[in-house]
């Protein structure tokens, strides 16, 4: 009996050792020649896979400037907001870290810090109490949510095609509720007998609820060209709660009170396509198409469960990437909206820096 127990114990220890050995081999098996970090880090854009090589660490950052250009209404009609006196600018500082655990398994995290302002035109009207001048300034400041993702590369025709399936979650790590507004009201201007009312709202970028993200990307690689396409679905995992601020003038001062409401972000489809041309070994020119389609969101801000409506935007972009050194790549992109529905449309100028490392000794 004792011998049987010993035999079973030894057998299970051997199985465990086999499992550990198998896992070790799986992780360390060089799918691509890992001892040549230089060649991996200097791969031309068109040849580069969509995800990281094993043990490759990539840190991306940069600066993105967006300027409000136009607004698309529910029917897709375009309204030039510059003519309407509405202006907005957004400054975004993205940070993204990716790491290749295996040649076919990548993990990543990203987050953005941004500032955005939106100013409406002055609206004047005359009453028997004098002239009233009214304008609105809305600002958004802070970090948005933290994205954690995993990419899996499919081992299908690796010489021509690179196919990645991605999954991730956007986690609300920062406060998403808007700060108390600070309206500025000047009564009875001495010279013009007028009242100037400036509504100042302060918002945050966070979604306030976790969002699941799943998608797939394909890249076809040729000697001078690469065609890539990707498709992602995002869906909020729960309904959220937030606040808006109600304001009034009482006893000569602006008073505020919080009103709670519920919301859901619905689901979003993101789709992208790009065509890259490798002009020279260290320079690639890339043409982009970006599309977004969102539906199913709602809010109870007005006391009813009102949909946020179908939102879509399509844009075209062009950019380039330069391999500056083994570890450093620079890129710049300009993106211009071409059509949409129920959304404001920004043109975007993005400058990015990408630091790539593969530890030596592989």
């Amino acid at each position: 009996m004792l011998q049987q127990n010993n035999f079973a114990t030894i057998s299970s220890i051997m199985k465990l050792r086999e499992s550990i050995l198998f896992t070790f081999l799986l992780i360390t098996f060089p799918g691509i020649c890992q001892d040549n970090a230089f060649s991996l880090l200097t791969e031309r854009y068109v040849e580069r896979p969509l995800s990281m090589h094993r043990r490759q660490l990539q840190i991306n950052s940069g600066y993105e400037f967006s300027s409000l250009n136009k607004l698309y209404d529910f029917k897709g009609n375009s309204l030039d907001l510059n003519e309407e006196g509405i202006a907005s600018a957004k400054h975004l500082f993205p940070v993204e870290i990716k790491y290749g655990i295996l040649e076919w398994l990548q993990v990543g995290a990203s987050m953005n810090y941004a500032r955005m302002g939106l100013r409406t035109q002055n609206f004047n009207f005359i009453t028997n109490a004098g002239k009233i001048s009214h304008s609105e300034i809305k600002t958004w400041t802070g970090f948005d949510d933290l994205f954690l993702g995993v990419d899996l590369t499919a081992p299908v025709l690796p010489d021509v095609m690179n196919w990645v399936v991605s999954g991730g979650i956007v986690l609300p790590v920062f406060d998403h509720e808007s700060d108390q507004p600070a309206h500025k009201i000047d009564f009875f201007n001495f010279y013009s007998d007028s009242t100037v009312i400036q509504y100042r709202y302060h918002y945050k970028f966070g979604n306030g609820i976790p969002i699941a993200n799943i998608g797939t990307s394909l890249k076809f690689r040729f000697s001078k060209l690469a065609i890539a396409t990707s498709f992602y679905v995002e869906k909020s995992l729960s309904e959220g709660e937030s606040i808006y601020w109600q304001s009034r003038i009482a006893e000569g001062e602006v008073q505020y009170q919080k009103i709670e409401y519920q919301y859901d972000l619905g689901q979003t489809l993101d789709y992208h396509a790009s065509l890259a041309y490798q002009a020279i070994n260290w320079l690639a020119v890339i043409f982009y198409y970006n599309g977004m389609n969102s539906a199913g969101g709602w809010t109870t801000e007005t006391g009813k469960k009102v949909g946020t409506g179908r939102i879509s935007i399509n844009s075209l972009g062009v950019g380039y990437e330069i391999q500056v050194s083994i570890h450093l790549r620079l890129n710049q992109v300009i993106d211009i909206p071409v059509s949409g529905e129920n959304t404001m449309a920004y043109w975007i100028f993005r400058s990015g820096i990408s630091l790539n490392l593969i530890p030596s000794g592989n």
Partner: protein
């Protein structure tokens, strides 16, 4: 034979490849199909517009004294000469003297806890119970004309009269009338009732505002700080303050229980008679007035709402917020205006 086997092997390989691809895409396909559309969500394109109801829509008269929504969601309208009109969301139907009403002039409408409808008409109080209309035209020998009716949270039906004070119907079948109030002549015409969140019942009169609290009547008038004693309408806003509108003057009175403040209606008119006030679900206050029309107050600014030209000389004399948050206004000439809120 070998060629045949090779072909089979090739087909098998292709099938296996397709299966592996499909397995990788399964989570994505599942995720997409889990995104179902919620049927309760209101399409925003159907909101934020004005609707108009007049004789061409099915109203029997275009001078509207009152608008009321029952618990089933039907809209009841009291008209000057067309009886009571009922709108079920699709079409209008009429209750007139032909159906048993004491008069076609309907000043007020309310619903009791049993779901029965009460109509205050020129010919007395009319109760619609099980399809039959019962009339109460006098109380203690005096004509009983309820120009306003209000059912409170304690299941009491308050009736205000033009010159004879108030009558309150209480008890399980509303047959008891223990509360009555008659005093100075100017208090005896009651234009409306409001219940605040503490359960106090407020009454609009020509002598100021009367409030009923802890089984006692008290007066809040110009001596207490009210801007004008000709109170036409009282409402509590979502800050907890009580607003008093008057038939005279361009100021509204806001009372927080301690302090009084006057709000100037700077909408370009030298005077405005505010007949009714409605509070939307976002806290905006809407004033139904004459001749200034509909004025919206967002807590900071007053806006006069632009309506079609035919409303320019019209007076807005009643208002009501329905269960969906839409705001209904009754006019003296042009029937009903409804704002389908955002």
């Amino acid at each position: 034979m070998n060629l045949h086997l090779t072909r089979l092997a090739l087909v098998f390989d292709v099938l296996m490849l397709a299966c592996r691809k499909a397995v990788m895409l399964l989570p994505l396909i599942f995720f997409i199909f889990s995104c179902k559309e919620d049927q309760d969500i209101i399409d925003p394109e159907t909101l934020n517009h004005w609707e108009y109801y007049d004789r061409s829509s099915g109203l029997s008269d275009t001078l509207i004294w009152t608008i009321f929504q029952d618990r089933e969601g039907n809209i009841w309208v009291g008209t000057n000469g067309g009886g009571a009109n009922k709108y079920d969301g699709n079409q209008w139907s009429n209750y007139t003297v032909n159906e048993g009403l004491a008069s076609n002039c309907v000043y007020s409408v309310a619903q009791d806890k049993d779901g029965d409808m009460w109509f205050g008409t020129e010919g007395g109080l009319n109760l619609l119970i099980g399809g039959v209309i019962y009339v109460l035209d006098t109380i203690e020998g005096e004509p009983f004309i309820p120009i306003t009716l209000f059912h409170d949270s304690k299941q009491r039906m308050w009736a205000g009269t033009p010159g004879y004070g108030i009558v309150v119907f209480t008890g399980s079948d509303y047959s008891d009338q223990p509360i009555s109030f008659t005093a100075k002549e100017e208090y005896n015409t009651i234009f409306g009732f409001t219940e605040d969140d503490s359960g106090t019942i407020w009454m609009s009169t020509n002598g100021g505002a009367i409030y009923y609290k802890n089984s006692e009547f008290n007066v809040y008038d110009s001596l207490s700080g009210l801007n004008n004693n000709n109170v036409s309408f009282i409402i509590q806003d979502n800050w907890g303050d009580i607003w008093f509108a008057t038939f005279k003057g361009e100021y509204l009175t806001r009372y927080d229980g301690t302090n009084t403040e006057y709000i100037y209606m700077y909408h370009g008119y030298q005077y405005a008679y505010v007949y009714s006030i409605a509070l939307d679900k976002k806290g905006n206050i809407w004033f139904a007035s004459g001749p200034a029309g509909i004025v919206k107050y967002n807590g900071i600014e007053m806006y006069t709402i632009e309506l079609p030209a035919r409303f320019k000389d019209d007076w807005f004399i009643c208002s009501m917020v329905d269960q969906d948050g839409n705001i209904w206004f009754g006019t003296m000439k042009n029937g009903i205006v409804k704002y389908v809120t955002e």
